[in-house]
Symmetry: C2
């Protein structure tokens, strides 16, 4: 079963917005075992839409269209679809009622545009959209299926998850499939692959491991593809068995599963051990703290921190000695160690993270080139340090350092709590 995705919108063609809808749809379809063979973006012009939908209906089993619906878009997609399918339009009372009641809830009266919006191509099967006024549309056309959804991401995602994917699964009785994502940090893709070489080479054809690297972390996706008749529990068992074996090999390189990012994983660990954390940041400028705070509920373990960008603040707020700064420089092991101990003492907590470095693009010296960054994590008894040597891209350096610091804090707690 092969799928085409068509996105309608001039704003994507002129690069005003990036088409993230298609990536999400591709991901979800792939996870269900459906193959996306083409993604297209076409203009708001009716002719263009007609030409591309017709082409895709020839080539694909399922054509998913997003965008080009709603009053301001002049509902151009619906007209184009009617033309492709060779059908007329009819006024749908129920759609009009939905729109009317939606606007009345906000104290507004429906207008002529909403009346126009209630015209639908004949032969449509409507898909109820709980997130907006434009319903999804399903058409059976010869051997193919054409589905149209609004382009607003949360409306599209709602329709895909609740209506489209379940219906496609029923219709095409796809090969059952089960995925699990294992999240690792601190090791490169090649290094990980080497460590689990034995496991990978002895996998049956129906189980695959995919490596998804992303700046300082690598996610491993283990997928089991079943045959018709095989049930999900059996597949899940296969995936869990492989996942267990991988865990034995990779140990604490694994920080979490599925959507559990480093900030969440660290937070869970702090909560578990009832520890309070602070940050003392120079070159990352608050980014580590900001990342921790992205997790709801972080106030139970995160007290706050000091952004000590200037040497003055390093001394004033974190008790870094003037002599240390003079002798070793602000970017040094001695400085980040003192930052950790100063933060713990000053802010009265269990654990502190500290970083100081040259984020770039300028400011390097022969001894300490751009990208030299010291990271430290410690409690009142012990401090662990690490020197990073990164590139010249300021934002990449800050991001990589942030992840490294969160991961170091996680490993520190695992070993010392």
């Amino acid at each position: 079963m092969n799928v085409h995705i068509i996105t309608i919108g001039d704003e994507i063609l002129i690069g005003q917005i990036v088409d993230t809808n298609s990536a999400w749809m591709g991901q979800q379809l792939n996870l269900c075992g459906f193959q996306v063979t083409t993604i297209k973006t076409v203009s708001d012009q009716c002719d263009d839409i007609v030409k591309n939908i017709s082409q895709s209906l020839q080539e694909a089993d399922v054509v998913l269209v997003t965008g080009g619906l709603g009053a301001t878009k002049d509902d151009v997609t619906k007209k184009a679809i009617a033309e492709c399918l060779g059908v007329g339009m009819y006024f749908d009372e129920k759609v009009y009622e939905n729109i009317t009641s939606f606007f009345k809830r906000f104290g507004r009266e429906p207008n002529e545009a909403h009346h126009q919006q209630s015209y639908m191509p004949e032969s449509v099967q409507l898909l109820d959209n709980k997130m907006g006024t434009a319903p999804g549309m399903w058409f059976n056309h010869q051997k193919s299926i054409l589905i149209s959804m609004p382009g607003v991401p949360y409306e599209m995602k709602h329709l895909m998850s609740e209506k489209v994917l379940p219906a496609l699964k029923t219709k095409f009785g796809t090969r059952p499939i089960f995925h699990k994502t294992i999240r690792t940090a601190g090791h490169g893709e090649t290094n990980l692959a080497l460590k689990i070489e034995d496991i990978e080479s002895s996998l049956p054809d129906s189980v695959k491991i995919a490596y998804l690297p992303n700046l300082g972390e690598v996610r491993l996706r283990v997928s089991a593809y079943g045959e018709k008749g095989e049930n999900e529990t059996q597949l899940q068992q296969k995936v869990e068995d492989v996942s267990e074996k991988i865990k034995e090999k990779l140990g604490d390189a694994i920080y979490g599963y599925e959507h559990e990012n480093l900030s969440i994983a660290l937070g869970n660990l702090l909560d578990e051990h009832n520890l309070k954390l602070v940050t003392a940041e120079s070159c990352t400028g608050g980014n580590i703290a900001a990342r921790i705070v992205q997790t709801p509920g972080s106030s139970s373990y995160f007290q706050g921190g000091i952004v000590a960008y200037s040497n003055d603040l390093k001394m004033r707020q974190l008790d870094v000695c003037e002599e240390t700064l003079f002798k070793h420089g602000a970017v040094s092991e001695a400085t980040v160690e003192e930052m950790v101990q100063g933060a713990i003492k000053h802010l009265n907590v269990d654990i502190a993270i500290a970083v100081s470095g040259i984020a770039g693009p300028g400011g390097g010296t022969p001894d300490k080139p751009v990208g030299t960054i010291w990271v430290a994590v410690g409690n009142s008894k012990k401090t662990k340090t690490l020197r990073l040597q990164l590139g010249k891209d300021r934002l990449k350096n800050i991001e990589y350092t942030t992840k490294t610091a969160l991961n170091m804090a996680r490993l520190f707690i695992l070993k010392n709590a």
Copy 2:
């Protein structure tokens, strides 16, 4: 002149990565006055590539292809192109020399894969790629032009900027065009449109204003489209005239032009007035500081800050009174005022930004629902405060608050420095 963009890569079809190349290319082409009518993503399969390139060569004047080049991709794009154009492949000595010398610089010997990589479709005109080993390829085919580039973003951008766009401009002698981006913050799109209604309605057909809104800010793009023969200086003058008029109407709602973001604009202003800034953040958790530090050279005006996530830190580091927290709560005007004054005094600077709020998704009360956020900016004499009432999306709330705070600091300096 109409353009198709084709991106080759299974990793985009399965949603593993988002295609940002096409958006960038669309933007650059549009800025040059070329019209992108279709963007397609196709699989790494040779058949699919052949079919889609052939289709696009029928429909477009220029077809731009990215991806599917290089040793690990098995150079599938080159084979597909040769097939589309009905030509053979030849071994290019110069390409091989380039690859060889590239690897020798890193002390590595070229291997068989690099030898294979040096085969090119006959009829190619090579475009020198200074950023990598795979050159760009230009083909004239009947009435159309086919151009292939590597998918690595910085290689593609280099080839587009240095080779492809200049050559297309020469070839198609496009309608001259001039753009200027005016960046505003603190006002909605509708509000801005109302303020410059007179200007917009009296514009000649050849000058357009586009509104590009993005969470707390709106960019206005003023574009002048010339006729052949009209030169760029004339167009620039037209755009500058409109821009001047807009500036008169919008005043300090405008914070910058082109790529100057809020962090840069605020930094320039602080430098200009020789002022030192600190931040005192609760619910944004360091995000404001991190945004300021994204600008290289920020150490000249940014001293650092306190992330006072807990009440303890608000009292300990920022001298917020226990009584204030008890009487008004941590999310209150009184608290953010004290945070500003505490930061200025404690950290010995000119200006401080403070925020405290309920970022969500939980934690609200009837008096202070989720999304209630107080922002304050001040110097030792005066503090300006603002209450925001936002939604329930934690990350959106943090981002909106960050921009609002940076913009408030900018306006405060303009009025009080």
